[in-house]
């Protein structure tokens, strides 16, 4: 069985490894860097820089800190590049050790069951398309010298003095926090009526208040009308105002990137539960298969695609994809929101616990935000978890477990959660759902 994988990002490299483990002969074609967008330009570099900015900002705002710290952006870039190189090197080793052949170059559709890479034809029994996505441009303002995509924003040579970020989704708000903490003047515009419009509405509203405290100028329901690039600055016009900044960062969304394979699978590779595109023996996984655009979705789909491509029957069934936004505080969303649960036919209810009730958040000096637990009133089954608060990114997996395991709020309350941890917020919410909280009052 010969499997060809096109694209070496999270969907592709994981698919290649899994297919090889199942005995297939695997060739992976990558035109840029192994690790794809995520490892090289997105998830990893953004989190590396955010972590440094968090520490910098915290030390600047800590009563115990004497003396002056400054942030050296160039050194930070170097440290970030070292992180990326290390993880990319790890992926190379994993592919090699699993016996995957890696071919550098751009793959194109070949004749029949084959892809072409330059002069070479690589035949396949099955193909996994994992070609990712491209940043959507801002209408009327093509990417250019001062109109950047997220890749270039994260790799600027100098720390910018001012930025206008267009797009209040995950990538946009993360960049806003990063640059605001490092001292830049940051503007952030979102076309919808709130930040993080895809999530429970209270989350974006809370995050907006925190961003304002960091000095970010937030515009919601704000359409960018015109962008004028000058030699030393760029001017952004919104209804009712304008701002002149060093750079505009466009983070308005992504679109699937089948590239030359659009000829086989169309502009978005539509897939069924087995990640099959409906065309020949062609599977697709990750961003190229459409939203949500998350590396962890790409991993999960990549595995299923590989299993099917290698001749097993495998399904991507009934799984929630958690959303995590690495702002400060962090924002998470797992499973159904209350509204979604109602629409799905549940008698949904929800409870809310402020992070100020959680010892760990107070001890860390940041008792900000809240969590919401959504459950089914009839049987107490946990349906969703949504929150904004420091450290919540690491709680998302526990919540996902509870949702995927069909746990009840009582099951959750009976699990002993270590003290003092942020995870106690989940246990306390479960106790509140049962009507017997001990660290918050009943509403």
């Amino acid at each position: 069985m010969k499997v060809v994988v096109v694209g070496g990002g999270p969907a592709g490299y994981v698919a290649a490894i899994r297919a090889a483990q199942l005995g297939a002969e695997v060739t992976l074609v990558e035109e840029a860097h192994l690790g794809g967008e995520c490892t090289n330009w997105a998830c990893i570099p953004s989190k590396a820089l955010l972590h440094m900015a968090d520490v910098f900002w915290e030390v600047k705002n800590s009563p115990w800190a004497r003396g002056g710290v400054e942030f050296d952006w160039r050194e930070a870039q170097r440290a970030k590049d070292a992180v990326v190189a290390r993880l990319r090197g790890g992926i190379e080793k994993l592919l090699a050790a699993n016996g995957v052949e890696v071919v550098a170059g751009k793959a194109e559709p070949g004749d029949g069951r084959a892809v072409r890479v330059g002069e070479r034809e690589v035949r396949f029994d099955s193909l996994v398309l994992a070609t990712g996505s491209l940043p959507a441009p801002l209408p009327g303002a093509p990417f250019g010298r001062r109109v950047l995509d997220t890749r270039r924003a994260l790799a600027l040579e100098e720390l910018p003095k001012s930025l206008f970020i267009v797009g209040g989704g995950a990538a946009g708000v993360e960049l806003a926090v990063l640059f605001a903490k490092l001292g830049a003047e940051v503007h952030l515009a979102e076309a919808m009526d709130r930040l993080l419009p895809a999530m429970d509405k209270d989350l974006g509203a809370y995050l907006e208040s925190r961003l304002r405290k960091l000095g970010v100028k937030v515009y919601t329901s704000a359409a960018v009308e015109k962008v004028e690039e000058g030699p030393r600055s760029v001017k952004v016009h919104l209804r009712g105002g304008a701002a002149e900044v060093e750079y505009v960062v466009v983070a308005v969304g992504r679109r699937p990137n089948p590239g030359p394979f659009a000829k086989w699978v169309g502009d978005v590779a539509k897939v069924d539960e087995r990640m099959w595109t409906g065309v020949g023996q062609i599977y697709a996984a990750g961003d190229v298969a459409g939203p949500p655009y998350f590396a962890h979705k790409a991993y999960a789909q990549g595995k299923v695609a590989a299993e099917n491509a290698a001749g097993r029957r495998s399904f991507y069934v009934q799984r929630h994809v958690p959303s995590v936004v690495f702002t400060d505080p962090e924002v998470v969303s797992v499973g159904y929101t209350e509204e979604e649960a109602r629409r799905a036919g549940y008698e949904a209810a929800s409870v809310r616990v402020p992070m100020s009730a959680i010892g760990r958040a107070v001890a860390g000096g940041r008792p900000e935000g809240f969590v919401k637990l959504v459950f089914d009133r009839k049987r107490g089954v946990v349906l969703g978890f949504h929150g904004v608060g420091p450290g919540l990114s690491e709680i998302a997996a526990e919540a996902a477990l509870a949702v995927e395991f069909s746990a009840t709020v009582e099951d959750l309350a009976l699990v002993i959660h270590p003290h003092p941890t942020v995870s106690e917020a989940l246990a306390e919410a479960a106790e509140l759902a049962l009507g017997k909280p001990t660290h918050v009052l009943k509403p």
């Binding site: 399904f315 991507y316 069934v317 009934q318 929630h320 994809v321 549940y346 009582e410």
Partner: protein
């Protein structure tokens, strides 16, 4: 977004859901023995064997 199917009645563990899907078994006919009656992967295996015997 890949949201769960609207099937409020069935409570099952992920491995149980996956195996049921692979076997083409209707989960609503499986009796769960996990915490609070959640269907476990072993429940699905047992149900599949029982179906084979019939």
């Amino acid at each position: 977004e890949a949201k769960a199917e609207a099937r409020p009645e069935v409570r099952a563990m992920p491995a149980a859901r996956r195996l049921a899907k692979e076997l083409g078994l209707d989960l609503s006919k499986v009796v769960g023995t996990g915490p609070g009656g959640v269907i476990t992967v072993e429940d699905v295996r047992r149900a599949a064997e029982a179906a084979k015997r019939e």
